[in-house]
């Protein structure tokens, strides 16, 4: 019960921060104040909050689980590639978007696209695709809240109650505090992440008798030595992952957050320190995930290792249902919680549980971003603001926050999490494929609205195609693949245990390259925007 009490104290704190932000707001009926904190965030809150907004439950829980199954490769795949690409995209795109927002009053990327390419309904298509790709994240956040509350309370708090509590807290501070409340809560949560990583590393390391010993034991066993190398993935697969962080700046909640800085100077520290924040969060998470393979004295982890062993050795004789059950048992998303339960004292489990809760509550900025997109790109664009006024627009935003939270909660109760886990994976590739929209709008005079439409439709079609392909073709045994077509002796499209590959690459690579090609070819074939419009941007 002690850990649950600590988590409740944490939830009360974030609620207070949201309400405090509401009290600090002096222009509550102004859209810019509610949705963008009046473009007034200071440098520390901007850095911590932007980083926290980017770090979802996956950074803490998923990365440990991935490292538990795949080894140290997780850090290179997800952390060091993001440490390079995300600051670069903030440097080149975030700063320009900030300046355009300040100059022309843009509050969403679609407002900029509509102006830059002189279009209306094409902007609506972009908004819809962005929103559809974002919704699974919100649902995953609610599910993560329910699961974590259930685990931390030792099963006393059922999933539906835990999910409802987390959804209510998030909804309340987003509803009252808007962007200001969300940013402050995110800054607070990032501080918790950083503390959490350090404490968890120390406590678990001491409990395991030192990491040196754990690493030596892993290295000396042929079954686990591969976890300390990258031989479980191919170089092409590893390379493909450098395309995934392109999605970061294309996520509406990230690009909208770029508009909240008071001064463009605030990006400087964020760009420089972002890689260090990645290191501080991901290294402990990945390292703990890898070394958990030696924590055989933890019964839950031993059960996972046995399930993994059965899958590897008896895959041919198992029925599909048994395989699904064993995969679920072997999954490592709760590995960090299991390690803490075993090695940390009770009060510390609660504190660290609050840190985990901070990670799973990252859906706040996504809810707010959806609300901003709806009120600005749909309500205001289709004359709602002109007819009913700005106060009605803010009220619409409030109502939308409540509606989207309720819908996410209801879906979270009825549908299995695996569907949304998969949808989130596709969303990364989908957003990466939308990157040519931002690059074309900000850096290429000749880009056109038809090029933008082609990019958007291609991204949506490609995501659907990969999803259908993966649901139609059964998952092969680990290490095997089912190929279709052939080019230079290599299967063009393959179904692997991990997903789909195209000529050995992840689908994100052809998705981004074709998307860029479409932007260029279609733009060159269609009339460019007015010279006066182009002059305002270049």
């Amino acid at each position: 019960l002690i850990p649950a009490i600590v988590v409740f104290v944490y939830l009360a704190s974030v609620l207070y921060i949201g309400i405090f932000a509401f009290r600090r707001s002096t222009h509550r009926n102004e859209a810019e104040d509610y949705f963008l904190a009046g473009r007034s965030l200071g440098v520390v809150v901007f850095l911590l909050s932007l980083f926290g907004t980017n770090m979802t439950a996956f950074a803490l829980l998923g990365s440990s689980g991935h490292a538990f199954a795949n080894g140290i490769v997780t850090y290179g795949l997800m952390a060091s590639s993001s440490a390079l690409i995300v600051p670069l995209s903030l440097f080149f795109i975030g700063t320009r978007m900030w300046a355009l927002g300040k100059k022309y009053g843009f509050m969403t990327p679609v407002q900029m696209f509509r102006d830059r390419w002189e279009c209306g309904h094409i902007g609506t298509v972009i908004t819809v695709v962005q929103a559809v790709l974002l919704i699974p994240y919100i649902i995953i956040g609610v599910m993560g809240g329910g699961t974590t509350m259930n685990a931390i309370s030792g099963g006393r708090i059922p999933f539906w109650v835990g999910g409802a509590i987390v959804a209510m807290v998030v909804m309340s501070y987003v509803f009252f505090g808007g962007m200001r409340g969300t940013a402050w809560v995110n800054a607070f949560q990032t501080t918790l992440f950083l503390l959490f990583g350090t404490i968890a590393l120390g406590v678990i390391g001491a409990g395991m008798g030192g990491f040196g010993q754990a690493v030596n034991e892993l290295a000396s066993s042929p079954a686990t030595a591969a976890l300390l190398t990258r031989e479980r993935v191919s170089p092409l697969y590893f390379f493909s992952y450098t395309f995934i962080p392109l999605s970061s700046i294309c996520f509406p909640h990230i690009i909208i957050f770029c508009l909240t800085a008071e001064r463009v100077q605030h990006f400087k520290k964020t760009v420089i320190l972002y890689p260090l924040c990645m290191l501080a969060i991901w290294l402990p998470a990945v390292f703990l995930g890898v070394t958990a393979n030696r924590a055989v004295e933890v019964p839950a982890i031993q059960a996972k290792l046995e399930a993994r062993q059965t899958l590897a050795t008896q895959s041919a004789t198992l029925s599909p249902e048994q395989k699904v059950e064993l995969r679920a048992k072997a999954a490592g998303d709760d590995i960090l919680v299991r390690l803490l339960e075993h090695y940390a004292p009770l009060w510390l489990v609660g504190l660290l549980g609050a840190g985990i809760m901070a990670a799973v509550m990252a859906s706040d900025s996504q809810i707010l971003a959806l609300s901003t997109m709806f009120t600005e790109d749909i309500f205001a664009f289709y004359e709602g603001k002109a007819r009913f006024g700005e106060a009605a627009q803010v009220r619409t935003g409030h109502i939308f926050v409540i509606l989207i939270t309720i819908v996410a909660y209801v879906i979270a109760l009825r549908w299995p999490q695996s569907i949304f886990d998969l949808a989130v994976q596709f969303a990364f590739s989908g957003y990466s494929a939308l990157m040519p929209l931002l690059v074309g709008a900000l850096f290429w005079k000749r880009s056109t609205k038809w090029g933008a439409l082609a990019v958007t439709l291609w991204a949506a079609a490609a995501v659907i195609a990969v999803a259908v392909f993966q649901s139609v073709v059964p998952v092969p045994a680990p290490g095997a693949e089912v190929g279709f077509g052939s080019l230079f002796g290599q299967a063009i499209v393959s179904r692997t245990a991990a997903g789909t590959s195209v000529l050995g690459f992840l689908p994100v690579v052809p998705m981004v390259l074709i998307s860029a090609l479409l932007m260029m070819v279609v733009s060159l074939l269609t009339p460019k925007p007015n010279e006066a419009t182009i002059r305002r941007y270049f």
Binding site: I72, A214, P275, L283
Partner: protein, 108 residues
């Protein structure tokens, strides 16, 4: 005087372009260094007694990224954005597609 001013300006532009090219090259090299096939199957040496060399490399890589970002901010910062301007003056007529700020609404 005009000729020497022109020469100085041309020189400044050339230095700026060279600096930009070097920084672009640095970023490309850094991107390539992420694909470290040389430590692909190596466990040893275990650095500091607990970090396998493949992981240690990527920790160092992250620190190197931090350094390169500092160089970018120091030498290639888009300072023209600091005034809130992109490239054009504020007086340009607003587009019918973008939101009009209250300040512009009130303008005669």
């Amino acid at each position: 005087l005009l000729v020497s001013k022109g020469f100085l300006n041309a020189n400044r532009v050339r230095i700026k372009t060279m600096k930009g090219l070097w920084l672009a090259l640095l970023v490309v090299v850094l991107y390539a260094l992420h694909q470290d096939t040389w430590f692909w199957r190596a466990v040893q040496p275990v650095v500091l007694g607990f970090l396998p060399v493949g992981l240690f490399y990527h920790v160092c890589y992250t620190l190197a990224v931090c350094g390169v970002m500092w160089l970018l901010v120091k030498f290639a910062w888009p300072s023209h954005l600091e005034s809130g301007r992109v490239n054009a003056p504020r007086s340009v007529a607003p587009s019918p597609h973008r939101p009009i700020s209250a300040e512009e609404d009130a303008a005669p």
